[in-house]
């Protein structure tokens, strides 16, 4: 495992938005790597910077107001932040492709699905229009759209929410990318289709050695398909480790709070237990640990010292003062 060179390395990424009301630190010091063929899960609070991290990798941050103010994004050893827009366009869709969280924002409502899919394929592959069309139908079939040769002629609004999401997935897989970033790819899907899509991902992964970054709120999906998981809170990593370790020995108080909030199918319905308090304002983060105002284990030092990501055990990183003996002791 150790010797495998990562496909993607995100180092100290900072993506900020400069708005009228101040600077929003959407991504504020994120580090992780993705190995070829692995599935990395990203989970975390709504608004914690997961999608913005993905957009940063693809060079799709709207600027202004957004800007990557610091960091490196190494893909196959080359820094994507140093590429021109033209080079990035070649990489997007071909090398790295993305399934967006809002399918309607990335499907063009005025063109049929056929036109959009054929164009995607033609933009990156040397094939005829006929071949591109066949490929489009084959892909729609793979993602479980019934009657694909007819439905391909439909416009986005003529599909159900989950079907649009599958159309997006089909488009993202069109050019056999080596990295697929899937932002909530299965939220609009029923569990049977979800299982089918996750199977498809696994199959593509084996065949093409494709790596996947899976952004999701569904911890069940994480448990089933991810090799490692990055937990984010307020623009920063809170915990980063193997999936099994996270579920068995998750350490960060935020991770534990998340695990506690999952509703379970059990005969006696108990009230759900959310993490108390409000999500942080990324334009005005508290001093010290950004989770401190909501943390059950908060100590005095948490209010003044911002913890750093520590490797507390092999391949198990946590950003919490409870696990930073030296700093924990300094101020009490």
């Amino acid at each position: 495992m150790e010797s495998v060179k990562p496909l993607l390395e995100v180092k100290n990424l900072h993506t900020h938005f400069f708005t009228k009301t101040g600077v929003v630190r959407a991504v504020d010091g994120v580090n992780f790597d993705v190995k070829p063929g692995e599935t990395l899960g990203i989970v975390g609070e709504s608004g914690s910077g997961k999608s913005i991290t993905a957009m940063s990798i693809l060079g799709l941050i709207p600027s202004p107001p957004g800007r990557i103010v610091d960091g490196e994004i190494l893909f196959k050893g080359e820094d994507l932040l140093k590429k021109s827009e033209n080079q990035m366009r070649q990489i997007r869709g071909k090398e790295i492709s993305m399934v967006f969280q809002d399918p309607m924002t990335s499907l063009n409502p005025v063109f049929s699905v056929e036109k959009q899919m054929v164009e995607t394929v033609l933009a990156h592959e040397k094939v005829t229009k006929k071949q591109a069309r066949d490929r489009a139908i084959e892909l729609l079939n793979l993602v479980g759209i019934p009657d694909p040769s007819k439905r391909v002629k439909n416009y986005p609004h003529e599909f159900s929410g989950g079907m649009r999401q599958r159309v997006m997935i089909a488009m993202a897989l069109a050019c056999n990318p080596s990295l697929l970033i899937a932002d909530e790819p299965t939220t609009a899907l029923d569990v049977t289709i979800q299982a089918q899509i996750l199977e498809l991902f696994k199959k593509m992964q084996k065949e093409l050695d494709m790596a996947i970054i899976m952004i999701t709120h569904d911890l069940g999906v994480v448990a089933e398909v991810c090799d490692r998981v990055l937990v984010m809170y307020a623009g920063k990593p809170a915990e980063f480790t193997d999936t099994k370790k996270l579920f068995d020995q998750g350490k960060h108080p935020y991770t534990l709070g998340l695990m506690n909030s999952i509703p379970k199918i059990s005969p006696n319905k108990e009230k759900l237990i959310p993490i108390t308090g409000l999500p942080p304002n990324l334009g005005d983060l508290p001093k010290g640990c950004s989770f401190a105002p909501r943390c059950k284990h908060v100590m005095d030092s948490c209010l003044s010292i911002d913890p750093t990501l520590q490797e507390i055990d092999e391949n198990h990183f946590v950003r919490c003062l409870l696990y930073e003996e030296s700093k924990k002791a300094v101020t009490t």
């Binding site: 009301t21 608004g47 969280q101 079939n141 019934p146 929410g161 069940g220 999952i262 199918i265 304002n281």
Partner: protein, 331 residues
Amino acid sequence: MSALLELKNIKKHFPLKSEKLFTKEKPLLKAVDGISLSVRSGETLGLVGESGCGKSTAGRMALKLLEPTEGEIWFKGENITNYRGEQLRKLRREMQIIFQDPYASLNPRKTIEQTLAEPLKIFGMPKGQVTQRIDYLLDVVGLSSYHKQRYPHEFSGGQRQRIGIARALALEPELVICDEPVSALDVSIQAQVINLMEELQAEFNLTYIFIAHDLSVVHHISDRVAVMYLGKIVELGDAGEVYSNPKHPYTQALLSAVPETNPHREKERIILKGDLPSPANPPAGCKFHTRCPFAEDICRVQEPELKLVSTGGQMAACHFAKEVVTEGNFT
């Protein structure tokens, strides 16, 4: 409990573009193909089923956001199927929807404050109270007043979903159709929103139709659950009963596919064979027969009726539903 909303055999058939130019009959996509449902005042009815089976279409028809091709909609004992204009506008205050796609349903040129103020002003809330009410609503969905001046594109997916929830609850409606209301939220905020929806329900006797793919969330919040397949209801009953003792093979397959939040446990899955049939050309007989592990000859020719299958009021549309009870070999 009396029925607040009643759907009587409603259908929605969308015309499809025909490949042949000069055919008499236009092909139809039968998105909803005859569902009857009575929603009791104060209850939460969960609506689940395969993607594309017609859940959103049914929900939109119930609120008259979409005209049914056939059938009737009754609200509080009145037939509202043919309501138009002013009559409909008055109803809107009592019936709201949280849309599945929050981005598409928010006006990109309006700040969140403007979006939330609009319905309040239309229904005559004094200016002074509007601000207060907006602050309260934002607080309730875990957003803050510093978000008010922002536009939809400046929010994350889950934040937009919460704006949709705040908007739907703004007028304290009686009936809310919740179309995937929490799918984009992390589990902690999801728990917060669900707790809130339950509190509001207890306080104001709200009625919810809760459409979602997350079966544990549906189980948690619903009193009763309806399971749809290709435009029809295939099972309906008390949530506890349906989950612990599903009678329709589709429900059984669905429940077996719920992902397990324990990475060490491999689950026994009923894998459905074959592709999802097209609603433009649904199979004859039982619509599920092409994928059903228990299908027999009768299933291919005769469509099963939704019938009572337990003393607790559970209904299922399967020729063999009764046998399941005695043999218990489906699960």
